[in-house]
Amino acid sequence: MKKNDPLLDVKDLRTWFHTRDGITRAVDGVSFSLYPGETVGIVGESGCGKSVLFYSLLGLLPSPPARIESGRAFFQGEDLLSVSPERLRTLRGRHMGMIFQDPMTALNPYMKIGSQLMEPLLVHGLSSKREARERAVEMMKAVGIQDSETRMQMYPHEFSGGMRQRVVIAMALVARPELLIADEPTTALDVTVQAQVLALLAELQKKMGMTVAFITHNLGIVSQLCKRVLVFYGGRILESAPVTALFTHPLHPYTAALMASLPRAHQTGRALATIPGQPPEKGAPPEGCPFAPRCRHAVDACHSRDCPLLPCGEERHTACWRVQSGELKEMMP
C-alpha cells in the first residue's frame, strides 16, 4: 500500500432499515475516505446515521431490519461489505478497534479486567497466554491505570466510570489496530474526566499512529481533537472540511446554523439562533436535500433534487446546490 492511499475508502454506502412502518434510510449514499494517521470527527445530531454507518462497516447491525442496499467499503484494499463473516471477524479484532459510548455495558461484568484485555489477543491467536498477559499489563499502563498487576484481577464494578472507559480504550487498542472507531467515548463521563480521556486518546494516537474516526455530537470536542470533520445530517454527509476552516467559515447552511445555535462566550445573554423544526427521524428523504425542510435558504429545487457532496475550495466538500452555484456566499452572521 502506498503512503497516500486511503486506509478506509467508502463509496456510495446505503444502509436502510426495513420495518413495519416503512423504510428508514439511515445511511443514504455516503462516500468518504480516511487516511492513515489522521483523526477525523464525525459529527451530527441523534439519528443522523453517524453510528449506523460504522456499525454497517463492522457488520454489527442486525439484519433484518438493516440491509445494506448498495456501496463498497475498502479497508486496506479489501471490501468490508463483501468479505466472509470469518474474515470480517478477524479484521474487526485485529485491524479495527471500537470504543463504545457506555463503559458500563461495553465490559462483561462477570469477567476480570485482565481476562477481558487479553481476550482479543487470544481469540485472534496473536500471542501466547504469557505474552498476552504482558501486553495487557503494558496497555493498562499506557492508558494510565496504576498498579496494573492488581487491577488485572479486579472486576468492572470495582472501577469508576473514567477508569472503565480507560479499560475499554485499552481493550480496543491492545491488538494495535490500524483504525480506531470511537463512538461518543466521553458522553457518559464528567467534564473533568472527559478532558483526561480526550488527552489520553490524543496521546495514544500520536504514539501508535492509528487512524481515529471520532463520532460525537459535541462540536467543542471536535475542535480540540480532530484535524478534519465530516458533518452528517439525515443519513448523508452535508459538508467535509479541515476543522479550523469549518469552524471559522462553514459552507453548508446546516453547518452554519449549527454553529450559530451554540451558546458561545461572545454572545452571552443574547437569544441563540435556532433551527426551526426537528431533525428527520426516518433518515434521508426519497428525494431532495434532507435539510431542505428546515433550511431558510431552501428553494423549490432543494426539495426535489439531491445534491451530491462536491468539491468546493481547498480540501473542502459541500452538498448544497446553492453554495455550489455561488448563490450563497457568507453563511455566518
Binding site: 445530531e45 467534564v191 467543542g220 449549527l258 435556532t274
Partner: protein, 328 residues
C-alpha cells in the same frame, strides 16, 4: 427579603447495608449536601454547575420538597417550607415548580397534553370549561406548541417538544420560582438552543426566578445571572456570571472551565489544549477530610486536609471557599 433563602442545608442518605451480624446497625451514609447556603432574588437566574454526584439535583429536589433535609432550613418568602401547616403548604405549592431532565420519564404516558395541563389548572387555578380551554391554548402558545397537538400523547412527540410540554405544565400554576434540572442535556444541539431561548424569554417576560442546574458551563454562561459551583455536596464558589467566567478564583472552578470543550478555544490558540486534571471526583460515601477538593487540587497545602474552608466574600458578590491566592 430574598425570594428564596437556603441556610446551612445538609442532607445525608442513610445507606442500608445488610449486616452479617443480626441486630448490628451499619451507620454508613452518603453526604449529598453539606451546609449549603444560598439566596435568590425575585426574577434572578442562578446557575448551579458541578459534576455528577455533587449534590446539585438533591439541592433542587429538597427545594420542591422531594427530599427532606437532615438539617438547615429552606425559606421561601421567609417561610420554612419543610415546617409548614398543610393549608399554608398547599398555597405555596403552585409558587415553586420544576422541570426535570428527562422529558420521556417526567410526563405521564397515558395523559394527553390537554389532560396534563388541565389537571394542574383545575387544582391550582380552579379553572373550568371555556376558561380552562383558553388557558391551555395560551400555555401551549407560550411554550411554542401548536394548538392542534392538544389531544396528542407524549409518545407522539419528539424530545424537544416533550420538554416544551413539561415547561408548559410547570408554568401552568403561575409560579414565581422555577427549578430546571438539566432541562436541555437530553436534547440535540439545534433543539437545545430552542429550549434555552424559550426558558430565557419566559423568565424575562414573567419575571420568574429560576435555578438552572447543568453540567454544561456554556449553557449556564448563557442563561444565568449568577453561578454557583458545587463539588461533593458543597458550594465552592459563587459569583456573578461575568466574574466567574472571567476570573474564577477556586481551583476547582478553574479546572472545570479549562476542561470545558470550547469551540472558540481552538480558533484563538492553535493546537491541543487539555488540562491536566488529576483523578476523579471522590465518592460522597467517604469524602476527604478538610477541603473536599484537596486530593485533586494543584494548590493543595498540608492545612487543606485539616480545615474546612468557609465561603468568604473576596469581592462584592464573589464568594470562594479557598484561602489560597490563585497563581497567574
Amino acid at each position: 427579603m430574598p425570594l428564596l433563602q437556603v441556610k446551612e442545608l445538609s442532607l445525608s442518605f442513610p445507606l442500608r447495608r445488610r449486616s452479617l451480624r443480626p441486630g448490628k446497625k451499619d451507620s454508613l451514609e452518603i453526604r449529598a449536601l453539606d451546609r449549603v447556603s444560598l439566596e435568590l432574588a425575585t426574577g434572578e437566574v442562578l446557575g448551579i454547575v458541578g459534576e455528577s454526584g455533587c449534590g446539585k439535583s438533591t439541592l433542587a429536589r429538597s427545594i420542591v420538597r422531594l427530599e427532606r433535609p437532615s438539617s438547615g432550613e429552606i425559606l421561601f418568602r421567609g417561610m420554612n417550607i419543610h415546617d409548614l401547616p398543610a393549608g399554608k403548604l398547599r398555597a405555596l405549592r403552585p409558587e415553586i415548580q420544576m422541570v426535570f431532565q428527562d422529558p420521556y420519564a417526567s410526563l405521564n404516558p397515558r395523559m394527553t397534553v390537554y389532560d396534563t395541563l388541565a389537571e394542574v389548572l383545575r387544582v391550582h387555578r380552579k379553572l373550568r370549561g371555556r376558561d380552562l380551554d383558553r388557558a391551555i391554548r395560551d400555555l401551549m402558545g407560550k411554550a411554542g406548541l401548536a394548538a392542534r397537538f392538544v389531544r396528542k400523547y407524549p409518545h407522539e412527540f419528539s424530545g424537544g417538544q416533550r420538554q416544551r410540554i413539561a415547561i408548559a405544565r410547570a408554568l401552568a400554576p403561575e409560579p414565581s420560582l422555577l427549578l430546571a434540572d438539566e432541562p436541555v442535556s437530553a436534547l440535540d444541539v439545534s433543539i437545545q438552543a430552542q429550549i434555552i431561548n424559550l426558558l430565557g424569554d419566559l423568565q424575562r417576560e414573567q419575571g420568574l426566578a429560576m435555578i438552572f442546574i447543568s453540567h454544561d458551563l456554556g449553557v449556564v454562561r448563557h442563561i444565568a445571572h449568577r453561578v454557583a459551583v458545587m463539588y461533593l455536596g458543597r458550594i465552592v464558589e459563587s459569583a456573578p456570571r461575568e466574574d466567574l467566567f472571567r476570573e474564577p478564583l477556586h481551583p476547582y472552578t478553574r479546572l472545570l472551565l479549562s476542561a470545558m470543550p470550547d469551540v472558540d478555544a481552538v480558533i484563538s490558540e492553535d493546537g491541543e489544549r487539555f488540562v491536566q486534571a488529576r483523578g476523579e471526583p471522590p465518592s460522597p460515601l467517604n469524602p476527604p477530610e478538610g477541603c473536599v477538593f484537596h486530593p485533586r487540587c494543584p494548590l493543595a497545602r498540608p492545612e487543606c486536609s485539616k480545615e474546612v474552608p468557609g465561603l468568604v466574600e473576596k469581592k462584592p458578590g464573589h464568594r470562594v471557599a479557598c484561602p489560597c491566592e490563585p497563581e497567574e
